[in-house]
């Protein structure tokens, strides 16, 4: 694995290798002194051209637990046009001898573009509606941790599939690992051709949740899409929001995932977010471990 640009290019073994490495990293994160010298002297650049405190902090902690230097670069306040930013950034990074580049951008394909320009590994930390591979890895890791296995499990992904990089990466990882993946959401948020990815589109949330082991609720971008793709937040939460009543359709041992931050009372009710099946805080913990594993596998092994 030279870069982590998405889940789609990975095979089952590569995914398994990352998840296994994350097991070891989780153990480090539970020690009293949460730091190993594995990546001492190496530099991780977090290039966040779209703001995301949560993901950036997670990568930063992951780098620091491996003793790497983490440098955060954000685009806010920059007067450069996007094109200049990208070209400039690629050249600057080459000059600074960074060891790994973590990229978050609001445009699909930017990490892939940068990967062609820089000679160091690139990690996609979320690009537009394309992919968010470390999120999918931590989702899979959390399922494995909670349920012991992924093969044969039923995973329901609910919400705005069309605009969600989280959904795409989740679909890729769970289908590659042998789960049955169902999707549900407003028809206006179901992307064309999605069934070609091996998922089962459902016409209602009830159908998707029936007998599910894993429920992935997606965050709704209410500011951007209300009115255009769904009539109102109220109607959305009534039709596609997860509450305890709907949760009972799933298996008794089912777990609930959400990439955060939650719109409480919109895609997920507070009663569910704080209930026993919720793994939302575990996901945050596991996110650090998974990102440690990715940084280690992309850079540490070449040492």
């Amino acid at each position: 694995m030279k870069h982590l640009l998405g889940i789609e290019p990975l095979d089952r073994d590569e995914i398994g290798q990352i998840l296994d490495a994350a097991d070891a990293m989780l153990e480090i994160s539970q020690r009293e002194i949460k730091r190993v010298p594995t990546l001492r002297g190496r530099t991780v650049i977090n290039l966040f051209l779209e703001p995301s405190t949560r993901t950036r902090v997670s990568f930063e902690i992951a780098a620091k637990r491996l003793s790497a230097d983490a440098i955060n670069v954000s685009s806010s306040g920059s007067s450069l046009s996007k094109a200049e930013t990208l070209n400039d950034m690629a050249q600057n990074l080459a000059a600074m001898n960074a060891d790994v580049l973590v990229v978050r951008d609001r445009t699909a394909g930017v990490p892939a573009m940068l990967a062609e320009r820089v000679r160091i590994p690139v990690v996609n930390a979320g690009d537009g509606a394309h992919e968010h591979p470390t999120q999918a890895l931590l989702d899979a890791f959390t399922v494995r941790q909670s349920l012991g296995s992924i093969e044969g499990r039923v995973v329901a992904i609910v919400g705005d599939i069309a605009h969600s990089r989280v959904a795409r990466s989740a679909i890729h990882i769970f289908t590659k690992l042998g789960a049955e993946v169902r999707i549900a959401g407003p028809p206006t948020m179901m992307p064309v051709g999605i069934e070609e990815l091996g998922v089962k589109p459902c016409s209602s949330i009830e159908e998707a949740l029936d007998g599910a082991h894993v429920i992935c609720m997606l965050r709704i971008q209410r500011e951007r899409l209300e009115g255009a793709l769904f009539p109102s937040v109220r109607e959305y939460s009534r039709t596609y929001g997860l509450d305890l009543r709907l949760l009972r359709l799933a298996r008794p041992e089912a777990i609930v995932l959400h990439p955060g931050p939650i719109n409480r009372g919109v895609e997920i009710g507070s009663d569910v977010a704080d209930a026993e099946p919720s793994r939302i805080l575990d996901q945050v913990t596991n996110g650090v471990a998974v990102r440690m594993a990715v940084l280690y596998l992309l850079t540490g092994e070449q040492a």
Binding site: K82, G128, R165, R168, G193
Partner: protein, 429 residues
């Protein structure tokens, strides 16, 4: 000037149906004879056994960028690119800066072409002032100045009432209206075809219906007005059906397809290469098959390149920010020849779709081999295998969707009025 001869080539002239090995003589820039036992002794002879001689190709959809965007292309470089692709007549679109919506700009382009271009350049003028889709341009004046057709191209005229009046008025000045059919609202801010590939890439897509809705509207308006509608760069299977039905019903409609829509599908967007971004977008394999069938059965009358040069730095950005369009003049022939190699199209019909067919629908005196006519010719090796690297392109821009691709079939030489404008060395004509 001298008299020279091309000897032993297969000569294809779709206008007359000629497809035979004959010699062809050129004297004083004009075709002086075609046959097997031509009289007289030429001063020079080009041995061309195994090669083809065809009428120079005619492109009725070229963006030359002059005036205003000469860093992308100018009339001279666009003409060199055309010559390298075997084209001897090209028709340039109106989206220059200033827009070609006045006789003064039309005359300027024609003057620059006379002074700097090595091929014949004809002018397509704007259908509406400033390409704004509101007030029609001075079509009578433009036609008088030399405009051969009217089009707002990528600035689709969304107001049906304006489009109706444009068609009516253009009919009055006896010129076709060339329509770029994309419903701008349904298309929105998209760059690619809506489908599994766009979904996987996370790129917003527009459905084929963004095109077919406007094709259907414009066919109805052509029926209403009796005007000649020419549908530019058809990209969707359903559009081919609509055009076929309209032709059967007697509507005055013609259509073109680009080489990139004939050759490629939306699968190529997967690497986010911005040289796969054009309008209308590349669509599915099913659409591509329908375009090939439509070209073969004549529903689609001709091939047109939609040659759209953009500077490297403009394309070297995120996919969603990149400008639409690709260069196409220098790779058109081998793409069309692939259909001959696959036996989808006869050699004569393939050449027809690039010569007399486009010429006749804009009523240009070009695209055929007539004794006494200017010797606008191309010499083709239909079997030559070559790879497009980029630097060999004569266009000022290299935004080709075919970089790195291997082709079969190549233009070896191009003559305009008997003068070699591509592929000549000192010793041969």
């Amino acid at each position: 000037m001298t008299r020279w001869r091309v000897r032993g080539a297969r000569v294809l002239d779709p206008a007359s149906g000629l497809d035979e090995v004959v010699d062809i003589d050129v004297e004083d820039g004009r075709i002086a004879g075609m046959g097997t036992d031509l009289p007289g002794i030429p001063e020079q002879v080009l041995e061309a056994t195994g090669l083809w001689v065809v009428p120079g190709f005619v492109d009725i959809h070229t963006h030359l960028r002059e005036p205003g965007q000469e860093y992308k292309e100018d009339i001279a470089s666009g003409a060199r690119s055309a010559a390298a692709g075997g084209f001897t007549t090209i028709c340039c679109m109106a989206n220059t800066d200033p827009v070609n919506d006045s006789p003064a700009v039309t005359e300027f382009i024609q003057r620059r072409a006379r002074d700097t271009a090595c091929v014949n350049v004809r002018v397509i003028a704007a259908a509406t002032q400033g390409l704004r889709g509101e007030i029609m341009s001075e079509m009578a004046g433009l036609a008088g100045a030399g405009a051969v057709a009217f089009s707002d191209d990528g600035y689709t005229i969304m107001d049906s009432s304006v489009m109706r009046r444009v068609l009516e008025y253009a009919k009055g000045v006896d010129r076709p209206v060339i329509a770029h059919c994309e419903d701008l609202a349904l298309k929105g801010a998209t760059a690619v075809h809506e489908g599994a590939h766009a979904t996987c890439c996370g790129l917003p897509g527009s459905p084929a219906e963004a095109e077919t809705i406007l094709v259907a509207r414009d066919l109805e308006l052509a029926r209403l007005t009796g005007a000649h509608l020419h549908v530019a760069h058809v990209s969707a299977a359903r559009s081919v059906e609509l055009i076929r039905d309209a032709k059967d019903a007697g509507v005055r409609v013609t259509a073109e397809v680009t080489p990139h829509h004939l050759a490629l599908t939306d699968a190529v967007i997967r690497g986010y290469d911005t040289n796969t971004k054009m309008a209308p977008p590349l669509r599915t394999a099913r659409d591509r098959e329908a375009l090939r069938d439509g070209l073969a059965d004549g529903t689609i009358d001709c091939v047109a390149t939609d040659h759209a040069p953009h500077a490297a730095y403009e394309k070297d950005v995120e996919y969603t920010s990149a400008p639409f369009g690709v260069v196409g003049l220098e790779t058109a022939l081998p793409v069309v020849l692939d259909l001959v190699h696959e036996k989808r199209l006869s050699a004569l019909d393939a050449i027809r779709r690039m010569t007399c067919a486009p010429a006749s629908l804009l009523r240009l005196r070009a695209g055929s081999l007539e004794i006494g006519a200017p010797a606008d010719l191309a010499l083709v090796d239909p079997e030559a295998i070559w790879k497009l690297d980029g630097p060999e392109l004569q266009s000022r821009s290299r935004n080709s969707a075919f970089l790195g691709r291997e082709f079969r079939g190549r233009v070896l030489r191009t003559w305009v009025a008997g003068r070699a404008v591509h592929g000549s060395d000192e010793t041969l004509p």
